[in-house]
Every structure is written in C-alpha cells, then in structure tokens.
Symmetry: C2
Subunit: 216 residues, 2 copies
DNA sequence: AAGAAACTTGACTGAATGGTCAACGCTGGT
DNA sequence: ACCAGCGTTGACCATTCAGTCAAGTTTCTT
C-alpha cells in the first residue's frame, strides 16, 4: 500500500478530489470486469491478469486505479451490500402484510435474475465465512433483520399473517432467491440449458408463501 | 500425472490392488484434511501445504497418495455425490406422499447439519459452474430428479398432494437445506454466534411444506 | 536377520501471480 | 504552442505454490 493517487472510496479525506471523466469511466470498467471474474472464480481464483484482460487494460493500469486486488474486491462488496439490502428496506409497515412480504420476495427474486454475478459474489464471500463484510453484517444487516422480524411478529400477533418464525421466514426468502442465481449451473443442467432457471419460480414461491402466510 | 503407485479409485485397472492398512488410514486422513481446507477456502484458495499441515503429513507424502491437488478434489467430490443423492433415492413411491416428502426434507436438513463441510464443498463447486461434476449432474442427478418429478406429478394428479411444480418443489428443498449450511456464517452473525443456525428450521419447514402440499 | 517393498521427507524447480518502477504518451489549461 | 501532471505500459521483482527427486526410514515377508 503506497501510491495510487487515484483514491476514492469511503476512507478518503475530506479534500475535494477532482475525479476526472477518464477516472470515472475506467473505474467503472475495472469494477465491472472484476465482478465478472470474481463472481466466476472467487477471490483467490481470480487473477489481476484476468481482470485486466476482461477490462481491456494493462495490469499496471488496473493498479493505478486501485490499491490492489483486495481493494477492488472490497470496493465491489461495499457497492453491492447497499444494493443487496435495499429490497428489505422497502418493506412498508403501513402496507397490507401479505402483499408486502410477497413484494419483498418478488423484488429479491428479480435481483437474482438481474444481478446473478452480484449474487454469486455475495455467496462466495459468505461461504468463506464473510471475513471482509463481517462488520457490516453484524451491525447494519443484523439491525435491519431484527427490525423486520419485529414487524413480522407484530403482524402475526395482530392475526394479519399466520404465526411463523420471522427469522426463518426471512431466511427462507433469501435461500430460495439466492438459489436461483447461485446454483443456476445445476438448475440449467437438470432442466436443460435453454430454459431460464427462474421460469416458474415466481409462481411457485407465490403459492408457497400465500399458503404459508394466509391467516387462519 | 506420472508415478504415484498408490493409486486407487474408479479408474484403476482390474488388478487386485492390495491396499495396506497404512494406505487406508493415510488416505482417509488426507481426504478429511482436504475436505476441511477445500470447503473453507474453495479449490483455488486451498493449498497443498495447508492440507499437509492439517493432515499432519509432509507435502510430498500427500502426493505419494494422490496424483495431485486436482485428484484429491475429484476424490472428495466423487465420494460426496453419492452420499448427497442418497436422501432423494430413499423416496418411496409406495409411501404416503406428504410423509415421504417431509421425510426427504428432514433427511436433507439433517445432512446440512451433520455435514456442513460437504455442503460447502458442493456449493463451491456449483458456484464455479460445476466444471468437475458436470457429467454426473447431467446424467445421474438429472435422471434421478426427472424420475422424482414424475412421481410427484403422479401424486398430484391423484390428488394426494396439492398440484405444484415438482421441479421447483425439489429445488426449494435443496435451497432451504443448503442455505443453513452454506450461509451458516451469515445466520450466526444475525442470530448470535451461540445459536445453532438450524434451530427452528425443521419446525418452520414442516409448517411451510405441510401447508403447501395439503390436498385441497 | 535380512532383503525387498512400502513409506517418508528435505531440498529443489518451474510456473503463476501480485505488485513495482521508470519511462513514455496524451490532454487540458494557459 | 507548451508543459505539468494525468494516464499508460513493458519489463521486472519477490513470493507463493504445485509438483519432483534422491536419499533416507519403517514395515512386511521369509
């Protein structure tokens, strides 16, 4: 860790860093290439040369924009995390409970379909024990989940949804939606490579959660 | 690929290979150590030195028993796959449909709890696109799933379970059970490190599938 | 007991890979 | 038109890591 004048990110001092047009463009190109490579091969499996090739830039040029492999990975995860948690934040406590939960499920499934690379990047990180995002999970995500669980329990107490363990309800939505992105390879091999893995998934999950949550 | 007289595995010729006591013991030790390391760091992230250290053997000794890193990994996956598919094979077409499906779900969940390392090894492989087990998935697993799906559809046609997409039903069981092993780190960080991640999972899934499958 | 075969390892090697550096564009402001 | 500093890269390092080898030690068989 030394030079790299082209720093940005949350750790930079309060100077008015003038990011040029070229900087913005190249950083985006690099992050996109890195997402492609990291999500396909994992952190250790990815090489700077692969990222450079994918980005169409030279390796030293990559390192001109980022402090190292680790820094690129960190930048990706940081960007990802807020995006990843957004659907959960959009739960409206004032809304109709079942519709709200279904909406969350659909948003999450849509993200798996639209951002499978991000999903795999995240899955890889958690599989390794989440060493690089442990702090965020223990604080931000945990608080968000606790709040949501409390809301779900309130809804259950009011008899507006069936009483179920709110944590497992949330985990089940994560599990199902992640699965369609992370295990896409397996699903394709079983259902045929030409089928969209998420085909029918929404209908299935719709039925699943409608029956689970219907107040009795 | 050259020497390594201590070969075994499914590719060996039909000679009566006399595996000694030491060979059996050390191979088991190596595979166990490799499972530990591969499941924690992925294929590329694992090193032979780590495996050797974990096994308490020297690196050349590891290579005396296996043809290379790749061979160890292949051996693990091969061993794993049959174990992994067993619960599905145990579905009894003559049994009571809902009870059979619940039984499958419970067996799968039990495996996630008892063999989280195997689960993560498998998840890692699929995440990378399943390059090393693609053949088995496309043949054995696919056939097994197709058969099971046909059985489920028959049960639905007979009105013994609610009509649901059989493939997504199977995928959902995989997704939920794998999640508790593969995303254990995340679950622990959210629910507290002292809680068993699968606590309450069985009850939740029980409710979930009971309501989904109840004939209407 | 002794020879053969099985087992073990310290010391290497070659390739891959993250990162550095000095030198060379190129561009925008004046 | 010029030049300061941003942008770019070929050529290099240092380290890591899979795999080799020759020389040992242990175990089995008779």
């Amino acid at each position: 860790m030394a030079q790299a004048n082209a720093q940005r990110g949350s750790s930079g001092a309060a100077e008015a860093r003038t990011t040029t047009r070229i900087q913005r463009r190249n950083r985006r190109i690099i992050l996109d290439a890195a997402l492609e490579v990291f999500s396909a091969h994992g952190f250790r499996g990815a090489t700077l040369d692969q990222i450079a090739a994918e980005a169409g830039l030279s390796k030293p040029n990559i390192l001109y924009y980022f402090d190292g492999k680790e820094a690129i990975h960190r930048a990706l995860l940081t960007d990802l995390l807020s995006t990843w948690l957004d659907p959960l934040r959009m739960l409206n406590p004032e809304g109709e409970p079942v519709a709200e939960i279904m909406g969350y499920m659909r948003r999450k499934l849509a993200m798996s379909r639209e951002f499978p690379r991000e999903s795999r990047l995240f899955a890889n990180e958690i599989l390794q024990g989440a060493p690089r995002i442990e702090a965020v999970i223990r604080t931000d995500l945990r608080a968000l989940v606790d709040d949501t669980a409390a809301l779900l329990r309130r809804w259950a107490d009011q008899g507006r949804i069936a009483p179920v363990d709110p944590y497992h309800l949330i985990f089940s939505i994560w599990a199902l939606t992640q699965h369609y992105a992370d295990f896409e390879a397996q699903i394709r091999m079983i259902r045929g490579d030409d089928t969209d893995p998420t085909d029918g998934a929404e209908a299935f999950m719709d039925t699943l959660y409608t029956r689970l949550l219907a107040p009795r």
